[in-house]
């Protein structure tokens, strides 16, 4: 003590801003001081992020497999049979619907689409099924996309088809120019697509008339009619107009059709429950790990928390420390976990499985992790409320 000094009255209780800054500093210092414990908690968050995104991303990937045809068809509206629940082979409808559509104000174009199952004969004997699509040239609405070899226009050549790259081996080692028999008709391979592999057999495309003959659909019938709207045209007005002329048919928009397909998939298959359960399981495991780690960290530092209380920190201040730590764990764990799952998804990406990680899901994951970690810290906060400042005298 070097000089005589006189006491001055102590300053007031710190305002909320300063208290928050102070508690955030303490929270981070405590976190980074015990790196092993921090790593343990982070592993819990990263595990939850990676596993939940992997499951949810795979689920979205499977959904996309089933809806990609509608997404890439280029059609604003689809004319379907009223019994249609999803995109699948069905009884044909009268071709009159096509002409009704073309005559409807607001419709820029309308094209028929053949959609059914076919079998390709293998060179070594036997056959394999394909999802056969007949599309009208030159617009090719509902036609092949992602053509990686050959051209879509090759379909305008006689008896020419386009097949999927990932199924080439299974379909007997297909190459451009290969000749195969499909539904009893010899066809030449004019193009190869990449990634057009729905839940079932891969897509195989032919020009509309060829497809109609191969599937033995009468000339006055078709499976679907695809419509493009004129700019500014009202989809609802067009739907009402067509259905007024063809009350035995249904007109659905692209999003509506997607919704029907997804709804069908969720109701008729267990993938929703399977992936939903796995995602929830990942979140529960992450919650438990984070909860126990944070509680353990509080118990380890209980004397420091007691000291903070003794020197003037409130229960609310201590809760700020734990909540700050939980949010930090959530953000750090999300960052690491999302970086990992993004790389994993890219590494395992194939036409058979493309894990979908839309930005909304990545952002949503971070929000869920923050909520999960804050909820997981509640046990620690409850423990802190019971800390007596008097413990520092023992």
């Amino acid at each position: 003590m070097t000089s005589l000094e006189h006491r001055s009255p102590p300053k007031a209780f710190a305002p909320a801003g300063i208290r928050w800054r102070t508690m955030i500093t303490i929270a981070w210092r405590m976190m980074f001081h015990n790196k092993l414990k921090m790593a343990g908690t982070l592993i819990g968050v990263v595990f939850a992020v990676v596993l939940s995104n992997q499951q949810a991303g795979t689920f979205l990937g499977l959904i996309k497999k089933n809806t990609m045809f509608v997404d890439y068809s280029g059609a604003d509206l689809w004319i379907v049979r009223p019994s249609t629940l999803t995109l699948q082979a069905s009884k044909p409808m009268g071709i009159a619907a096509l002409y009704t559509a073309r005559a409807t104000p607001g419709v820029a174009w309308a094209e028929p689409l053949i959609y059914g199952g076919a079998a390709i004969q293998l060179p070594a004997g036997g056959s394999e099924p394909v999802q056969f699509v007949g599309t009208s040239a030159p617009r090719f609405a509902g036609g092949p996309w992602n053509v990686v070899a050959g051209t879509r226009e090759s379909l305008m050549r006689p008896n020419t088809m386009i097949f999927e790259d990932s199924e080439r081996e299974r379909l007997g080692g297909l190459n451009l120019g290969s000749v195969r028999e499909v539904n009893g008709t010899k066809v030449q391979i004019g193009g190869i697509t990449w990634g057009l592999l729905p839940f079932g057999p891969s897509f195989a495309f032919a020009e509309y008339e060829l497809a109609r003959r191969m599937l033995r659909v009468d000339p006055d019938q078709t499976h679907f009619v695809l419509l493009g709207l004129e700019p500014g045209a009202s989809a609802d007005a067009v739907k009402r107009s067509i259905m007024a002329h063809s009350p035995d048919l249904k007109v659905v928009g692209r999003e509506e059709f997607r919704g029907m397909i997804i709804s069908f998939l969720l109701r008729r298959s267990p993938i929703g429950i399977t992936f939903g359960t796995s995602t929830v399981f990942a979140l529960i495991v992450g919650f438990v790990i984070v909860s126990l780690s944070m509680f353990s960290a509080v118990v380890d530092n209980i004397r420091e928390f007691g000291t903070l209380k003794a020197i003037g920190a409130t229960n609310g201040d201590l809760a700020k420390i734990v909540v700050t730590q939980s949010i930090t764990f959530a953000l750090m764990g999300s960052l690491i976990g999302l970086a990992l799952i993004t790389r994993i998804a890219a590494a395992i990406r194939s036409p058979k499985l493309a894990v979908q990680l839309p930005p909304q899901m990545l952002l949503g994951t971070t929000v869920v992790m923050v909520l999960m970690c804050v909820a997981a810290s509640s046990l620690a906060v409850l423990r802190l409320r019971k800390v007596e400042p008097g413990m520092v005298f023992r």
């Binding site: 003590m1 070097t2 000089s3 005589l4 000094e5 006189h6 006491r7 001055s8 009255p9 102590p10 300053k11 007031a12 209780f13 710190a14 305002p15 300063i18 208290r19 800054r21 102070t22 500093t25 303490i26 210092r29 405590m30 980074f32 001081h33 015990n34 004397r303 420091e304 007691g306 000291t307 903070l308 209380k309 003794a310 020197i311 003037g312 920190a313 409130t314 400042p389 008097g390 520092v392 005298f393 023992r394």
Partner: protein, 235 residues
């Protein structure tokens, strides 16, 4: 202590009971205690005598079961528990036997933390913390973590922290218990100077009779009651 100095702590008839029914334990049995501005008082007594309970009540850490405690002009008995942290910040600086520094924060940050709780902004708090650490001759240890300091140095950081914000009362719990004789002497001199040079009211709980002579008064507690008060022989 002359009658002209201000009475900072004034406790009368303080009772503290723990538990209920058959397990009820009376730790303090009607204690009267006071301390003046600039006074250095030692509370002495065997383990379980009630001296730590008394310090806890004076420090607004525990509430008394009965009796009245006044700090300066404010009666603190009967104040709701949620308000006690504000009273501690307003009136009390603590020095603990085990130093109780935050292990993950540097010496300067430990001291600045106390100032931040009292409403100082971070820049001013850092400057003041450095100044206070210089006062206890630790100006060259600002960036050291507690683990990098000796026991005596940690206790001096603890003293600097207790001075942060200039609380009128300093309560020290066995401040020399974990220190060697020489360091204990140094720490006690610091406490004595807090009272004599800075005007703090210093109340120290100790078993260490080597430092009794520093005190203005030595108050002996046993079985929850004050048995005797004797005058010290301060330098």
């Amino acid at each position: 202590m002359s009658a002209s100095t201000k009475r900072v702590v004034d406790a009368s008839g303080v009772v503290k009971e723990y538990g209920d029914g058959a397990t009820k334990f009376r730790a303090l049995r009607g204690v009267d205690f006071h301390a003046h501005e600039g006074e250095f008082v030692i509370l002495s007594g065997p383990s379980g005598s009630g001296k730590t309970t008394l310090v806890s009540i004076l420090g607004c850490v525990l509430s008394a079961t009965a009796g009245q405690v006044r700090i300066l002009d404010e009666v603190i008995t009967g104040v709701p528990e949620a308000e006690l942290p504000k009273l501690r910040l307003a009136y009390i600086g603590f020095i603990f036997q085990g130093h109780n520094l935050i292990a993950s924060m540097t010496a300067q940050e430990n001291v600045a933390l106390m100032l931040a709780l009292r409403g100082w902004n971070s820049v001013d708090a850092s400057k003041e913390a450095a100044r206070l650490l210089s006062l206890v001759e630790l100006g060259d240890k600002l960036a050291n973590l507690p683990a990098d300091l000796s026991g005596g140095q940690r206790q001096r950081v603890s003293i600097a922290r207790c001075l942060a914000g200039n609380p009128p009362i300093v309560l020290a719990d066995e401040p020399t218990a974990s220190l060697d004789a020489q360091t204990g002497q140094l720490v006690t001199e610091l406490l004595h100077n807090l009272a004599k040079k800075r005007g703090h009211t210093v109340v120290t709980v100790t078993h260490d009779n080597r430092i009794y002579h520093f005190a203005d008064r030595i108050v002996h507690i046993e079985d929850g009651m004050i048995l005797a008060t004797e005058k010290g022989n301060p330098p």
